[in-house]
């Protein structure tokens, strides 16, 4: 039938564009970087260095995944950095307190600490979600506000002085521990990423997040309950940020209000966007976000290994970041044409 033909060739072109558009060439770029570094500097593929990279990438990836979810729903979460800090100090404080109250009862101590930390995430997430979904204030502004507020609370609790007194086991056998040769953070990150991929692809929640980000009005008339899912995305994002805060705390061995901060926030969004998440909403996959988190981490590591003057490093970072995305865009357009 005629339509078979009609459908045929446009689909051909679109198929190609799809590949370019959906996967991008980030993985390729990553491989290039890794290959290049390995060639230039044997230190790079030293086991310890790889573990460092993986651990730091994991921390970033966890935050970035949450961030990505929010952005896909058409929002923005500037508060993640502050949540990381708050979760860290609250976790540490709580552990210290419970440790004082119930000496020796390590399980209780750790459980309470972690619960408290994640609790912070839930609270901030709910506040963000409420303001965005119910009060209809743009996510950017809301989280700009909660960022300031959350950071303030974190500092109020600690005056910026590190919080000590958490059980050694928490640090030794969780924060700095390794299983199957990989740091805990990496395992946690892998679990998070797998869960998120599953959520995005296979669950109602993920589907509705895409729908809301793609076209709110259509979602409404199709009977999707918008508010619940928007709140959901912000809660997930904050909780993941809190999780990162806890991991950092366990690794460093003290609760610090200096964790996270603006840099973590900016990095998480950068990771998401470089990973192909559209700030217009409706588009983006966490596995690519995780990859771009890895990319950014390796980039920083490479600049250090290559002994680049640390004052000049930002310049390189900025140029490469822009170049990468620009190239991606260029290729995407090319494929779009032929």
């Amino acid at each position: 039938m005629s339509t078979a033909l009609t459908a045929a060739e446009p689909r051909g072109t679109i198929g190609l564009r799809a590949i370019a558009g959906r996967i991008g060439f980030l993985p390729g770029l990553l491989l290039l970087l890794v290959a290049g570094m390995s060639a230039v500097d044997p230190q790079f593929y030293g086991i310890i260095n790889i573990l460092n990279i993986l651990r730091n990438a994991s921390l970033l990836a966890i935050v970035a995944c949450g961030q990505a979810l929010v952005i896909v729903a058409g929002g923005f979460d500037l508060s993640v950095g502050a949540v990381v800090a708050l979760a860290s100090v609250v976790t540490a404080k709580t552990m210290a307190a419970t440790a004082a109250a119930f000496p020796g009862n390590v399980v209780l101590v750790i459980a309470s600490g972690v619960a408290a930390g994640l609790g912070c995430g839930v609270v901030v997430g709910l506040v963000n979600g409420f303001c965005v979904a119910k009060l209809k204030v743009s996510g950017f502004v809301v989280t700009l506000g909660t960022m300031s507020a959350t950071a303030g609370v974190g500092l109020m609790i600690t005056n910026g002085i590190p919080v000590y007194g958490m059980p050694d086991i928490f640090v030794k056998s969780f924060g700095r521990a390794q299983a199957f040769g990989l740091p805990t953070a990496v395992h946690v990150a892998l679990i998070v990423i797998i869960l998120m991929v599953f959520a995005q692809r296979r669950t109602l929640f993920g589907r509705y997040v895409y729908a809301i980000g793609g076209n709110v009005d259509a979602a409404v008339v199709s009977g999707v309950s918008i508010q619940r899912h928007i709140v959901g995305t912000y809660v997930v994002s904050s909780v993941l940020a809190a999780l990162t805060g806890i991991l950092l705390t366990a690794q460093v061995g003290s609760g610090q209000a200096s964790f996270g901060g603006d840099r973590m926030m900016l990095q998480s969004i950068a990771a998401a966007v470089i990973g192909g998440v559209s700030l217009r909403g409706g588009v983006g996959r966490v596995e690519l976000v995780a990859i771009s988190a890895l990319f950014l981490t390796i980039l920083g590591n490479a600049l250090n290994l290559l002994h680049v003057d640390s004052r000049l490093q930002p310049v390189f970072l900025g140029v490469i970041m822009v170049a990468a995305v620009a190239l991606d865009e260029l290729i995407r357009r090319r494929r779009g044409r032929v």
Binding site: I14, G214, N215, A218, V221, G223, R337
Partner: protein
């Protein structure tokens, strides 16, 4: 779609009494009564902005009415939500589609009604049912395509399929044929017949008299949000309907245009587009005549004129304007050369909805000294000029400082047409000029084109509405699969020939 057999046809399926709806600034609906029987097709007829879509939105639970009662299958319904509406079998096909561009057709079909076990999607099952439905409807639609890769026509099919997924008791169609071509329209009508025979009630909105004639059992005429009258389609004439609708007499014939073909203004040679939607096309348009382009969905007719205007990349071929070669076309330069393009999708490509009408109309002339000197706007002049033009086009309401978004479809199109009068132009490219505008407005648009050609301009019209294309054009090109398969002039310009030119093509396609 599953449809349970007709209930007692006595009482109406849907019964609205005294429905009102107020929007900021407008009384969109004012004490409307409406009854739809099972198995009948009930047409809503009215000018742009009469309140048809609003009424439909109320019926399908998008927003609640301010007052009035709502009965469905005999029982009173309160606090209707979209979910509830679909659950009880009210499924709307919206004028502004309810599709998520970044999702696939199939994902859109099930949006809000996914098949899940404990929050986990059952993709395979949904895929199967989506395919089954599309096959049953006989649309050529690929369920795995992303909606934003589809043409408006294919999006329309997806929107219809979406409405027919699941239990259907009352099907609502808001201008479903606006961007469908004859073939899909035919399919749709067969489908409607089947549904009626199975006792499904239909509400149908259209501005095309032909459809109303062929489909309608009863017609309800709305004007300014008020219910004017409900009458039997059989016992009422077109003129009657239109008079009720507009409150004045209008004769519904296409204007008789006297074409005086002059020299070739637009000349296209072996044009091929980057996305392959148009392949080595040769055609020309002359001053003083309307050149029509007709064709099935996705045949690339829009792309062709968009390429001439310079918003679709071409890979090979030559375009000549008034004899002079026109390389690397671009919107800006096209306008300078006197070429104007009027997009089919006015919300996406035409208007900045939240900006005032004045700014929207003068958008294309900010480079002219009459409107700006040394980059400084001459707002007084602008206000005067645009005001005059909009008055001449009879903008309703006549205030040019309102946001363009506050206008109804027909008036939005008028804002677009105003651009044709703001600067010296010789070539006018219209893409689906009458999509979604009411009969009155349509005639005004046709009159407008008439005046253009008779003033010696070269007008090129792309239309999916075959009668329109035939009636307006002096020469009619027929496109198929990105190629021009026929050029019809004079007496050969008949629906027969247009359609047969497709079939000829099919045969060759089969042979090859």
């Amino acid at each position: 779609m599953d449809v349970d057999v007709a209930p007692k046809p006595a009482e109406p399926l849907l019964q609205l009494r005294g429905i009102s709806k107020h929007f900021t600034g407008v009384q969109a609906l004012d004490r409307i009564d409406l009854g739809v029987r099972a198995g009948e097709l009930h047409v809503l007829f009215g000018e742009n902005g009469a309140g048809k879509s609003t009424l439909i939105n109320v019926v399908s639970g998008t927003f609640p009415p301010d007052e009035g009662s709502f009965h469905f299958e005999g029982e009173e319904i309160r606090h209707l939500t979209p979910q509830r509406a679909r659950a009880i079998g009210i499924s709307p096909v919206f004028q502004e589609f309810s599709l998520v561009p970044s999702l696939t057709v199939e994902e859109n079909l099930f949006l809000g009604r996914e098949i899940t076990t404990g929050g986990v999607l059952r993709a395979r099952e949904m895929r199967k049912r989506a395919q089954a439905l599309i096959d049953e409807l006989g649309f050529d639609l690929d369920p795995s395509r992303r909606v934003d890769d589809l043409s408006r026509a294919h999006q329309q099919m997806a929107e219809i399929a979406k409405a027919l997924l699941g239990k259907v008791r009352l099907l609502i169609l808001d201008e479903p044929t606006a961007s469908l071509t004859e073939r899909e329209t035919g399919r749709l009508f067969e489908l409607i017949a089947r549904l009626k025979s199975r006792g499904v009630g239909l509400i149908y909105v259209s501005h095309r008299m032909r459809e109303i004639r062929t489909l309608a059992d009863r017609v309800t005429v709305l004007r300014d949000g008020r219910h004017v009258r409900t009458l039997d389609a059989a016992s009422s004439t077109d003129g009657e309907l239109v008079e009720l609708m507009t409150g004045r007499k209008i004769d519904l014939l296409y204007p008789t245009i006297t074409h005086k073909p002059g020299k070739v203004i637009v000349d296209v040679e072996n044009l091929t587009l980057a996305d392959g939607s148009v392949r080595d096309v040769n055609f020309y348009g002359r001053a003083g005549e309307i050149t029509g382009i007709a064709g099935l969905v996705g045949c690339g007719k829009s792309e062709l004129i968009r390429a001439i205007y310079g918003i679709e990349p071409a890979t090979s071929g030559a375009i000549r304007i008034d004899g002079a070669p026109y390389e690397f076309p671009a919107a800006r330069r096209s306008l300078k050369r006197g070429i104007a393009y009027f997009p089919a999708n006015r919300t996406a490509e035409g208007l900045a909805l939240s900006r005032p009408i004045r700014e929207n109309a003068s958008m294309t002339v900010l480079d002219l000294p009459a409107f700006a000197r040394f980059g400084v706007l001459r707002q007084a002049a602008e206000r005067a000029k645009i005001g005059g033009i909009m008055a001449q086009l009879q903008l309703r309401p006549p205030n040019i400082e309102r946001a363009a978004g506050a206008l109804s479809g027909g008036n939005r199109q008028k804002v677009m047409l105003a651009r044709a009068l703001t600067r010296e132009l010789t070539v006018f490219l219209f893409d689906e000029p009458s999509v979604g505008i009411d009969v009155g407005a349509k005639l005004e648009v046709y009159e407008f084109m008439k005046s253009l050609v008779e003033a010696g301009a070269a007008v090129i019209v792309v239309s999916s509405e075959l009668p329109e294309a035939l009636a307006l054009s002096n020469r009619l090109y027929v496109m198929h699969h990105g190629r021009i398969v026929a050029e019809l002039t004079g007496a050969d310009r008949t629906e027969q020939n247009v359609l047969s030119s497709f079939f000829r093509d099919h045969l060759t396609a089969e042979v090859a």
